[in-house]
């Protein structure tokens, strides 16, 4: 390979990077987020005050981590609706742990929380791959089962943030370079998983599976094993989010995390991950999560009725799907053109 060719390769490589960046589905979402922040801060300049920004970051943190895990699952053409219940179980478990063993080391709590979540996620994965029933149905079932277990375990009991060690609660208060510690955790998760999905073979396999499961099987990809791994990872990340939830919020009990799964699926879809699998990135899912949680803050800051918040989320989901359709119609047209050329 001569040097001239190499430099040519590099040039096209760089050009490719820019092109694929601009083509990405994340761009419209990120644009919407920036526009939202600009408009809101014009109406109410206090929206960008340090305290307000910190609150925005804290509010987005939990959903970001959940969205990353959910994106892994959705990319494989599955879905995990039980994450709200898993988060509740782990959060309540965390409270219980601190209550029973006040001196338990905080890193151990994180490890246990993630293992607990991973076990619950693996159960989902095993059921989905062995039963050959859509994940929507399986995880709808485990959602109720996990919630039922939590309800009978917690009863009317609640653990309050005051019961936890102060260093644990401090994770959601202390900042590093102006960023809350738990938000840094979320950022690390996004980058690590995003890198995995982009640059590791098994990460690419997940895209292949979601793009065409039958072709993946023909190609000799271990489809079941990869799908189970995606559910496991989603469960572990939900476990992480559950521990952080306990640090962030005042109380955990039987209803913790109730209904959260739909917010998360909405964030992932808005972030450009196709619900039919195969496309999208965890970065997009994370931006979607930030967008949805920022809307709440923005509407409060501009004194818009809370009612509109949900309607706007709905509009965002529909526009995300619309964008998706337009893209696929365009490529269908391209197909017709290229076939006409062949004739």
């Amino acid at each position: 390979m001569s040097t001239t060719t190499t430099s040519h390769e590099e040039k096209t490589g760089a050009g490719h990077a820019i092109r694929s960046f601009l083509r990405g589905r994340e761009i419209p979402v990120a644009g919407a987020l920036i526009a939202l922040i600009i408009v809101t801060s014009i109406i109410n300049p206090r929206f960008l005050s340090p305290q307000s920004v910190k609150d925005l970051m804290l509010n987005a943190t939990i959903v970001i981590i959940l969205a990353v895990g959910q994106a892994l699952v959705i990319i494989t053409r599955n879905v995990d609706l039980s994450i709200g219940s898993i988060l509740g179980l782990v959060a309540f478990g965390t409270g219980t742990l601190f209550n029973a063993f006040p001196g338990v080391p905080i890193p151990l709590v994180f490890v246990l929380g993630m293992v607990f979540g991973a076990v619950l996620g693996t159960i989902n994965g095993l059921l989905v791959t062995s039963a050959k029933v859509p994940a929507l149905v399986i995880t709808l079932g485990t959602m109720y089962i996990y919630r039922g277990i939590l309800s009978s375990w917690a009863g009317s009991k609640q653990y309050f943030s005051g019961d936890n060690p102060p260093e644990f609660g401090a994770l959601s208060v202390d900042v590093f370079l102006g960023i809350p510690i738990i938000t840094i955790v979320a950022i690390v998760v996004v980058i690590a998983v995003g890198f995995f999905m982009h640059s590791v073979r098994s990460g690419r396999d997940l895209y292949a599976i979601g793009s065409d499961p039958d072709a993946a099987r023909l190609f000799g990809i271990a489809v079941s094993r990869r799908v189970i791994a995606a559910f496991l990872a989603s469960g572990a990340l939900t476990g992480l989010a559950g521990v952080l939830y306990t640090s962030r919020y005042n109380s955990v009990g039987a209803n913790t995390g109730y209904g959260l799964e739909l917010d998360v699926v909405a964030a992932v879809v808005v972030g450009g991950v196709a619900i039919a699998g195969g496309t999208g990135t965890v970065y997009g899912a994370a931006i979607g999560a930030i967008l949805l949680s920022t809307i709440t803050g923005a509407l409060t800051a501009t004194r818009v009725d809370k009612f509109w918040q949900q309607a706007i989320v709905g509009v965002l989901i529909l526009s995300a799907i619309l964008v998706d359709r337009i893209v696929s119609i365009r490529s269908a047209k391209k197909l017709r053109v290229s076939e006409a050329r062949d004739v």
């Binding site: 690419r204 039958d214 197909l335 076939e339 050329r341």
Partner: protein, 525 residues
Amino acid sequence: MATDTNPATPAGTPKTAGSTGTSALSLTGASKTFGPVVALADGTIDIRPGEIHALVGENGAGKSTLVKILAGLYVPDGGDFKVDGQSVAFKTPADSKAAGISVIYQEPTLFPDLTVAENIFIGRQPTGRGGLINRREMRRQARELFATLGVPIDPDRIAEGLSIADQQIIEIAKAISLDARVLVMDEPTAALSGVEVERLFGVARALREKGAGILFISHRFEEVFALCDRITVMRDGKYISVHTTADVTVPEIVKEMVGRELGALFPKEVAEVGETVLSVSNLNRAGVFSNISFDVKAGEIVALSGLVGAGRTEVARAVFGVDKYDSGTVSMFGKPLKAHSPQAAIAAGIGFVPEDRRKQGLVMELSVAKNATLTLRNTLARFGLISGKRELRAAEDWSKRLQVKTASQDYAVSTMSGGNQQKVVLAKWLATEPKLLIVDEPTRGIDVGTKSEVHRLLSDLAGRGIAIIMISSELPEVLGMADRILVMHEGQISAEIARDDATAELVMNAATAATTTEPIKGAVR
């Protein structure tokens, strides 16, 4: 990992070309059955390194089953399977791939959302430091592969929207990068134009020079004879013969492909032919079929013959109104039929029994009774409600007439055998008392016994004055059942053959257009 880092060089170390000592791949006496259906009785093929080997046979001769065994998709029930002289037993496609077998299917199997480069290298992308994917290297290798193949495809574009020809090229690039010792191509030229076919042949010959064994499946004899060193013939799931191409002629091969006794299996009785029921004139649909004109008369069975993909089903679907057509007219009893309206077609008395019973003909989870009377809901309903008792009675009546074997009318259709399912579909349409019945592959996947029952039934219906269009890929069925045969080739009717003139060779030639230069004997067109 050596092949991972440099998969772009086809066959890194050239194997001794043409060494005839051991076979690259040999399959002997392989069999595969699905319940009562024997898909493959004696699958035998021997591919030497450095040869291009053709596998020919009619539709349903067992070629696809044999390919699926080679690909590791089916585990054979019996037989001997060796790769490079070593016995193998593939359980998954991954096993087959690991043994150096690459299969290019008729329908390319790409991942629509992934880039072209990634489609080639998925699961074995070139990696750099820390096992991370080196995308630049991956693109470079993909570009190099396309340069070898002489096709400029952008490795960065996603596979969705690529033409079939380009998708085929990507499959080939994939096979080359895998450094396959045996490359199986299942009708790779079906969707390619002349230039693309030449390009593909160039690639195949280059691979042969490098010592790979290639199995080439095609219906086009001119291709088989131009490209292949040896030819294996299959018929009825059995190995028939293997020839060196130079020592054999097209008529000899055709004879071996079709040669079999036409027995009492197809009891078509001559029925009185009445008035014209359906008349189709100049039906066109761009890229699918063109200039389709034909009539069907009462009491007549007209077979639409031809190869899979010739456009037979598409014509039938257009006539029935499921699919659109661009121009032309469809008339029933002289009255033009509204285009693209199955409701109008049903109202005019057309019944349509689709090829894929599971997908289009039956609601698998419903009971026999519900399925059989699905098309009758309007006549059975009283005040908008359907009486279960009336439904059951109508279903029982037809099931009895068709001899559907089921313990109870309440059983879900999915529990029944293919033959009985087919009878339920027929019952469903016969209950509407059609004037014209279109049946698409009426006996596919049905055991021999039930087959002749279905044939008896069709013959019986024709005798009652129903006009029948039968689409069939099975030559004996076509020859035995049809009063007239319309042969389709690449979207056009290439021959119309009367029952008395019809021979297997004539139909086969018209279907493959092997003798396009000389007029087809007995052909009206």
